[in-house]
């Protein structure tokens, strides 16, 4: 049983228990071989765990794609006090819904990954920071944490190894910005969710002022499998630089949208037409946002040879991000879609940095005006210029994220804008 659709080209490693409520329980997870990796990892020297993850080529699944093993090795060599692992389960990027499913179906997979990672980086305490709107997922996860505590898998002297790791599930209050790692730490500490200036980086000064590593849910879920089967085994999937499988969250105008676990390097066209069953009758491809709302839009021509790995998508002119593939057919009004995305960023900007606070809202206003047929051609220049002002000038990358779809849509779908500006005509009926 899969959830909600499955396809024979999938390679189901992380998602193999999805759809089966039994995997939510400790018993069900153990039946699938769960917690063997933990047993193994806790008896390995922690350096070897890190080496194994390095060897697997696992890269952060939260969007940036930074090699996970390398990130772990940034933690202090000599432990001088408490250290923390944060699991970023504040999945709020529009178009993304993979972590939610991992939390709902395989909470023990995440717990196991967290414990292994905590051992590798010598963390005393794991915080799983969940998005505020994940009501069901948090309940499932909390239940699983309780079970694991009762079974002695979390807490003091785990599995008789003498290792102590505590784990706390923390629910956010629903702000997108709290998915940014330093804002997440502020929020966890009970402060306003404002991104912090880097340096200092979290591995030096993180949550509660202590060295902290922060990983995405999907990244941590991959860890038990890597420890269990070895880095080389994980590398069998994916490409040279982008190894392993990835959960693709497909949404938009396809017949079977949903989560699909595919090896990295999978062709985008195959994802659309084979795995997801293509478009509804009579419709054709117009645009794809391959990595969540904050990456540049691809037009149909760019999708042609695009492969879904970190390098392939960059070559095509965008970024893989967290692999949230938003597919739009020819009925799509691009200006409206971009406006909706920018509205989102304007609403979610934390308001610290001036370019983001003012720029996102200004862009949203201009786009709204264009959408309503009251735009001018200079507005497009202003939008591009504002985009430049908002890129690389702020503490975090939220404003860059707001600017990217605007700039790329003007570059690639200029005619849609011009049609609205010159004739008040919407391209696409949606």
């Amino acid at each position: 049983m899969a959830f909600p659709y499955e396809h024979e080209r999938e390679v189901r490693i992380l998602s193999r228990g999805w759809g089966d409520p039994r995997t939510r329980t400790l018993e069900g997870w153990k039946a699938l071989g769960g917690y063997q990796a933990l047993e193994k990892a806790l008896r390995m020297p922690r350096g070897e765990v890190i080496d194994e993850v390095k060897a697997s080529g696992l890269r952060g699944r939260g969007g940036a794609g930074f090699p996970t093993g390398v990130k772990w090795s940034f933690m202090p060599k000599e432990k001088t006090g408490p250290q923390y692992l944060c699991c970023n389960a504040d999945e709020s990027e529009p178009g993304t819904f993979k972590d939610r499913e991992l939390l709902r179906w395989t909470p023990h997979q995440l717990i196991e990954g967290c414990l292994i990672a905590a051992h590798a980086i010598q963390a005393d305490h794991v915080f799983i920071y969940c998005r505020g709107e994940f009501f069901e997922a948090v309940q499932v996860l909390a239940r699983a944490v309780e079970e694991a505590y009762e079974a002695g898998l979390i807490g003091k002297d785990i599995l008789g190894t003498g290792i102590d790791i505590e784990l706390t599930v923390h629910s956010g209050a629903g702000a997108y910005i709290c998915g940014e790692e330093t804002a997440l730490m502020n929020s966890l500490e009970g402060r306003r969710g404002l991104p912090r200036i880097k340096p200092p980086f979290p591995a030096a000064v993180g949550a509660f002022g202590r060295p902290t590593t922060i990983n995405n849910v999907e990244t941590l879920c991959a860890v038990p499998h890597i420890v269990q089967h070895g880095g080389a085994w994980y590398r069998e999937q994916g490409t040279e630089k982008s190894s392993g499988t990835k959960l693709f969250c497909v949404s938009g105008h396809v017949v079977r949208p949903g989560n699909y676990e595919l090896p990295l390097g999978f062709p985008l066209k195959d994802l659309i037409y084979d795995v997801c069953g293509g478009f509804r009758p009579g419709r054709s491809l117009k645009a794809v946002i391959p990595g969540g709302s904050s990456v540049p839009i691809l037009n149909a021509a760019e999708c042609e040879d695009c492969t879904l790995d970190y390098e392939g998508v960059v070559e095509a002119g965008s970024m893989l991000g967290c692999a949230s593939v938003i597919i739009m057919d020819d009925t799509t009004d691009i200006v409206k879609q971009v406006r909706r995305m920018v509205d989102f960023y304007a609403h979610e900007s934390c308001g610290q940095c001036t370019p983001c606070r003012e720029g996102t809202q200004w862009m949203a206003r201009i786009l709204r005006r264009i959408e309503e047929g009251r735009g001018t051609e200079e507005d497009m220049d202003t939008l591009l210029d504002l985009g430049d002002q908002m890129t690389g000038t702020t503490i975090c990358v939220l404003s860059d994220s707001a600017a990217a779809p605007v700039a790329s849509s003007i570059a690639k779908f200029r005619d849609d804008y011009l049609a609205l500006i010159r004739r008040g005509e919407r391209v696409g009926a949606a």
Binding site: G351, C353, C356, T360, Q389, T393, I395
Partner: protein
Amino acid sequence: MVETVTLTIDGQEVTVPKGTTILEAAETLGNRVPHYCYHPGLSRPAQCRLCLVEVEGAPKLQASCVTAAMPGQVVHTQSESARAQRRGVLEFYLKNHPLDCPICDQSGECKLQDYVHEEGRAHGRSREPKRVLGRDDFGGDVLFYGDRCVMCTRCVRFMNEMAQDPRLTVVERGNRSVIDTFFEEGLAGSPYAGNIVDICPVGALVSKDFLHKARAWDLDHIPSICPNCSQGCNIDLHVRDNLVQRLKPRDNPEVNQHWMCDYGRHRYEWMNHGTRLVAPARGRGEGLATGTWEAVLSDLADELAEAREAGLGVRALASPFASNEDLAALRDLVEALGGGEIVFRSPRADQEIPLPGFPKLVRRRDLAPNVRGAELLGMRRVGGEDASGGLESLVGFDGILLVMGDALLDAPEDFGAGARVLACLGTHPPRVAAGATHLLPIRTHAEGEGTFTNVEGRVQRFWPGLHAPGEARPAWQVLAFLAAALGAEGEVPALAAEAFARLAADHAPFQGLSYEVLGTRGALVNDPVSLPGA
């Protein structure tokens, strides 16, 4: 030896202590990188994004307020990319700014105005309606004009970090964020809240007391010392039309850093007080008549000489609001008359009010600027905490009575009636003048030049900001003239500098001090008090 780094900023090499930020390093070259959120006395959120500069080798512009200067770094504050960044950010600020400079108190001392005039766009491109927030009363002396706010959060950080009285916060987020108080609780009663008006770089936070009172460019700024307690905060008198309009703190890391308390800030009206003693006078009771300085002083000198001949003693009542120079001159005159006790009365508050973020700054219990100076010159405090009473040794005294700066508010009607001479030097007519034989108008500290010694023993200069009314003279000059007439050694000082030099030469605690040593930040006397938090 402090470790230093040498870097190049705009082609100029500069060496600064390790850990200095680029912004601070540039300031040592006199190159002020525009900024809002950075304030030297507060934490650094690096959020205004105005101070971004180009650092060679860095992929992006760097926030100069938090980026440490590194050896060999090459920084450009005026490169095209840095200028474009500032132009862009300034346009963002103006997007919702009401541009109500003609009715804004900050106009003329506004950082938004300054920066935009310097390098902003000539025309904004926004065609969107502006956000309107209106005005809010934050309580205490503070009004908030939300539309002018640039969200630098200096005010929030001051209340959190320095006052440690977190009464302000940012509510909402993104473009909707606004500074606000918590529910109905405002700033009223927070003893240092007035500082947020000073550090607001724009006209978002303004003083109710100063509201629409004067334009910034019409104000003269005169460096002075706050006369309202013995802390000796460095201040500027802001003066227009020969009236003090407001007090503002002046930086002195040794005394008040960048701050001052609201108690001191709001007590300046007395410097503008109208009913002043404007001409010297002599004669007792009904016979009191004004005369020229020459006539009144020579008459007084004669009477003093006669009294001394007759073997009569001398007693004096001084004031802790008088400068060191005045007090020393009084001491010299008393010595010339054969020596006698000098007492003073000083108001005292129930408690101290420290600034938690800079504990050396305290609204002291002594509510006068020069209590320590008077004590160092051998004067004795008498009377109660409200500066009353304590006149027992003076009331029935039949010798020479000298009163300087004390208004005798609670003295009996017949005060000094039995004294051979009662000379009153004051800024205001004494309440009981019946017994006075001579009235001598003197200047307030706002009208003269001189020094105060603060609670720590720090001697600090103040400068004249107001024209003295009528014929009021500096007390040190009047007293030194009388002493010379009575045969004391030395020339009558013509300048405050000479009066200070004489004080330093004659009185051990001040020995070695000179204007050069004092500079603008003062210097400690030879036996200072060590303060907690110093």
